[in-house]
Symmetry: C2
Subunit: 137 residues, 2 copies
Amino acid sequence: MGSVPAPTGDDLLKVLAALGNPHRMRIVAALTEGRNYVSRLARDIGISRPLLHMHLQRLEAAGLVVGSLELSDDGKAMKFFEVAPFAHSLTPEIIAAASATLTDSGAASDPAAERATPGKRQPAPEPTPAQPPNPSP
Amino acid sequence: MGSVPAPTGDDLLKVLAALGNPHRMRIVAALTEGRNYVSRLARDIGISRPLLHMHLQRLEAAGLVVGSLELSDDGKAMKFFEVAPFAHSLTPEIIAAASATLTDSGAASDPAAERATPGKRQPAPEPTPAQPPNPSP
DNA sequence: GACATGTGTCAGTTTTCTTTGACAGGTGTT
DNA sequence: AACACCTGTCAAAGAAAACTGACACATGTC
């Protein structure tokens, strides 16, 4: 069974951060109706090209859209984007599992980050993890 | 058929923006193991109380956690937080549907935003919405 | 009273994200 | 050559988010 094989913390974080933006949501929506190239997509949505370019590479880094540079009939190079068939589920358990594999550094380009929760000292380990301290009854 | 009744654009946006943050993911993860109060939760995660307070009210505004001010045995007022049993699905279609109901203003308090895509002029309405312009073959 | 615990908020700084405008190059048509 | 398209990048401005420290209040114990 491998519908959604438990995404990495950093992976899911990138997806959520990418989708948590009105412009990027509209970009995904626009690409859901069919592939499109950058200049035209910018005109359709109504934002500037450099801005769309930034949003697109953010979505692509999260694996939500894929772009391919193609050559049209008249030899013009144009970059087409289309949505990737993603499917994520958001539940407390999935978030909890993902947070366990969070490097909190940047992306997947910093191998020196899996220490082991460095300064994780517990000054007063309460036996009841959901009750108030109750200093003296 | 009503497992996830198609969230509002602004609703889903708030959820995604709230979850797209490493600290807030850890907060949800910590609360998944059981309810907890603010001061202790701040110690557990390792962030300052004012910061945790800010993140918590962001998560609560998104409907991901719920807080309730209770009184402990010794009369101290303490605010307990617990995760809300949320369950969202993220697919291109759901994002597309949600983006249709985006106000893009702030929250659900600006009814003057559904103009009709103001400056949406089409200088050259291409008959093929997914093909290059192809000016002259 | 002094201390330790809990709550909340505020102003100010730092950091990050978003956005714009200008520039570089490429092609093909008039 | 000049124009109309397409591509990409950069530096700088603007806006928004994140973070900190100090303050306010409350309660119960030493």
